[in-house]
Symmetry: D2
């Protein structure tokens, strides 16, 4: 930690800060510049709210030196983490596509979608049984009934299931059915849900909050690893910006940034980020080229009749075309498909 | 709802859209412009996912006409809602200040803070027992023990209590102690928590999510009113922008925007938004001048030793100065204090 | 400047960085922490592109310690700068209101507006002769003809004139007519225009760019002061965020932030920021309460027929009501009107 | 245009709006819904400030139906525009890489860089002679001397030149030396510069403003086409968001959005957007996969000594590796290299 003193800080103010730092267990190294004094403080305790030093008279700012996360950090663990779901490995040399409808609407719809995405090459089936919706009047999901349908779709197709949980009270229930538990963007900082899910013994797909920095996203993952579960898959799904031509702005730079700072695998969801099926294919290709470990794509047998997120869902034909179109890109980046 | 067709839409595509609209229960009114045809559709059902029409061939965009919220709307109820907590009325002609420490740290700290803010004129005591923290290594609150301390502070000072709940499983517990249940910014779209809190029979203080539009904020309140509870107080606490000189950007324009569109009272939290105690007083005054119904302010007996949010907490002296400074502004806008 | 080395930086990498720093004229103070080494470097030359050190092997990040601006800084000059325009003093103990139409449309329109705003208490007349418009098909202003009309309005009413310049080639022309030269938000980083305007011998009103940080805004002012002109008035006019209920988000926190870091006076433009005349009055009051030195307000004799920015223009009646409503707030903050 | 009336609008208010629309030359089509009346107005004149209708009593909002741009629109011209610079064609089936240093620093530096990027496969040389810098104390470019060096580098290597202009007074000078004139992000809405450059008879590279919507970017291009020049290349270079891990957020979704709405070719600048050379390669690959027509990349013979943008410049070795790495991606999307 570096404490920067104001140019008009008095020697006594500097001394007070040093004393407080020593009291907090730091070793101090003051450096007197031409305009300002800065105090290097060694021995950062992450749990310490040393930020409060900013309220000391004469202090201009506090500059943290250490990263706030630890277990998710590539400084701690250099080799990439792989997440295993049945025979599927996420984070290895294979590009993994998870696909399916936004919401489970009926057994027919789900089974049809499952077979369609499997035939086109998807390895994991997605489908929401609990849907967090902006409006209380929108379709909120079939809940446990939906989970059962997912289970039947898994039996029929053999595809493992990723599905979202929105309430800590449902984690146990969802964990019974899901192969991967999804924490959605709106719940990325629902810390109780993170902790509960972290203890469920299943891999977690953690979507980035739509206004979360990459650092906050890694801190959210840290909550899960802190519960003893390192099977975490990150998923970039667009951030909120001023641009309105797309639903959110897909931040593909997050892929190399995560890669540099963490050992966790990272997927991209081109459906929610763009909000329009027309933009899904180019963004899916871009994500693979940027180094994503996989994709999460919404596919609906008949998007114009979808109860949720129809505008951004691919129909089965377009999904098949996309999967074909991805192949040369996957090869170009040296991955398998 | 208005459906705008592309300039190259064929008569058949237009017909298909009209037929689908009729099938969905709308009356259609096509208008043929020089370049484009638009179809007015009367009979919007809010629960209908008519957005999926965008996937029909030839459709360029869908323009909703009706507002997505209903119970919170000033179109439904013109007179302002007042929220009553003991003898305190929020949303009336009195400016209500809620103050206290970010987190309950100990009985001594809380009692001292409670007496200090009461003396200075605060009407309600704030203090967090459950703290949602970005880092799993940060102080997470004293939980039930903290609630008990709040209860004792209430006994001693007579001040009603506002405190946050972060988990639907804790709503019952928090409701036993709290006079007002706070839903924090990170949980504004934690819909299960909103629903549970909406059924607890206590007034709700609903903070705006840091990347939520005002419309989404009102939709979150709609979740609570939909459970039969209209005792909702909105609280603007800053939104996330590119500016880093302040922790968030306080959006005071939200006050007149909420006033125009809703009957619910609205408070402002100048502490979390600015992130610096130095900016709390000018922003508190600005909030009152803009028409806020009250303020939520962090005050700590010794901010430099606070376990949470020390940098933005006022010490008791500065809080007293602020309360004095507010008086002429409160008078100027015709409110009582 | 502080150079933070990566945890895995080798002693040789640290030595290389130190040598380069010495070569660049710095004195170095390495501090070895438990996880990382940081190097304090004294002797920051502002003109030096020391940021390139980040490309040295083993370097994690560079933390600047000194502020990038100097002449505008409150560290250099503590007493507030006042800007004098005839008998009007901006930055003193008087709240100065500048008002008038967005664009000069005709002599009749301008004279009428000028008399109306003068009667209501405005001290300076605003009106655009050169209009930067998003669309090439929108009204671009009357140019020199408009400047002449402003001149006649000044003769008739005695009100000094503030008007915008958008091209370095027009600075001389505009300076002949204007008492204050306005640099608009879109041109805040049009550095050639800043330099040219800085040499024109007239006070400058510098609007904040709609996506500029406060630091960048102060750096833009630094360009003007660097040309020997310290008669600069800053003007906050809203920043671009995700919120769409208002045209931009008025960042009133900028007032205390500027006050802390600079000696320059700061105005607020509640018209452009909100984009709606209904929100102008509450935001104007809030700006005064937050400590603004003045206001810039759009007033049009008949807003529904304005060629530019009609939706956010007050009509004369509402402007008069606003001016009345401001009085108690101005008094409450200890200013004159 | 659709005018949405408030639910409490009186028949007389509706009639007033209709009359004003007729007066403005529109044909009106009122539709009476259950809650609100909307008025379809046919005959939109783009130059008309019909937005001012919002100030009429009873009007809730105005919804424009037509796009504000025309000449740049894919509705007007379906086939993609190609821009020819010597033997290089931008917007065709070849991926065009423009590379070179941020700033021209010396003849040696520039010639070395030019030869290095040529050998690696770049088709056009970039280099700034006029540099818009946030700080007045930063290196501002060699100006005409720099242009002459670019000219010599072109003679030696045969590479056409792209270089920036920042002042309308310099357009003639820059046009003498440049094969493509660049309008930088900060000047995207410097309309005078756009107009002057539009008349210079050279292709224009128009960077997206860092806080500009795609619609505003297309409107800026419209200013150039309106001057009779359709040789415009768009260049996405990152937008300003809350994320700080990268300098800006590269918005690759802009590629398919531009493709859908315009016939102009679009490049991507992965250097300025990420601000870090480490992220350039993955983002360059992603841009190609998303369908970009080319790339603009900063390469410096010795980035750690660059006077400008060293942190994001590739050294020649890494640029060569990137160009090799791009080949299979270029092939995968069916382009030539």
């Amino acid at each position: 930690m570096i404490v920067v003193m104001r140019p008009d800080a008095t020697p006594e103010q500097i001394k007070n800060v040093e004393e407080r730092l020593v009291e907090l267990g730091f070793k101090t190294h003051p450096i007197q510049g031409e305009e300002k004094t800065v105090i290097g403080a060694i021995g950062d305790k992450k749990t310490l709210s040393s930020e409060a030093l900013i309220t000391f008279p004469g202090v201009e700012k506090i500059v943290p030196i250490l990263k706030p996360y630890k277990l998710v950090s590539s400084e701690l663990k250099r080799e990439k983490t792989t997440v295993r779901v049945g025979s599927v490995v996420i984070g290895g040399d294979e590009l993994v596509v998870m696909a399916g409808p936004c919401a489970v609407e009926s057994e027919e719809q789900l089974l049809l979608a499952a077979q369609q995405v499997k035939e086109a090459g998807a390895k994991i089936l997605r489908g929401g049984a609990f849907k967090p919706r902006t409006s209380p009047y929108a379709f909120q999901g079939l809940e446990e009934e939906g989970l059962k349908m997912l289970s039947r779709a898994k039996e029929v197709t053999g595809l493992p299931i990723v599905t979202e949980v929105v309430d800590p009270r449902d984690v146990g229930l969802v964990a019974e059915y899901a192969d991967i538990i999804q924490i959605g963007a709106r719940n990325m900082q629902n810390f109780r849900l993170l902790q509960e899910a972290g203890m469920a013994g299943k891999p977690i797909l953690l979507k980035r909050g739509l206004s979360s920095t990459i650092e906050e996203w890694l801190m959210a993952a840290e909550y899960i690893l802190d519960k003893g579960n390192d099977q975490v898959i990150l998923c970039e799904r667009g951030i909120r910006t001023f641009e309105t031509a797309t639903r959110n702005t897909l931040d593909l730079s997050a892929i190399p940034v995560v890669r540099e700072n963490s050992h966790l695998p990272v997927l991209v969801d081109p459906s929610h980020s763009t909000g329009s099926w027309k933009y899904v294919a180019p963004m899916a290709k871009a994500a693979v080229a940027a180094g994503a470990d996989g994709l999460l794509i919404e596919v609906h047998p008949e998007p114009s009749r979808a109860l949720c997120d129809g505008p951004q869902s691919l129909n089965p034909e377009n999904f098949e075309i996309l999967m074909e179109g991805l192949k040369p890109i996957v090869q170009a980046v040296g991955k398998k498909f």
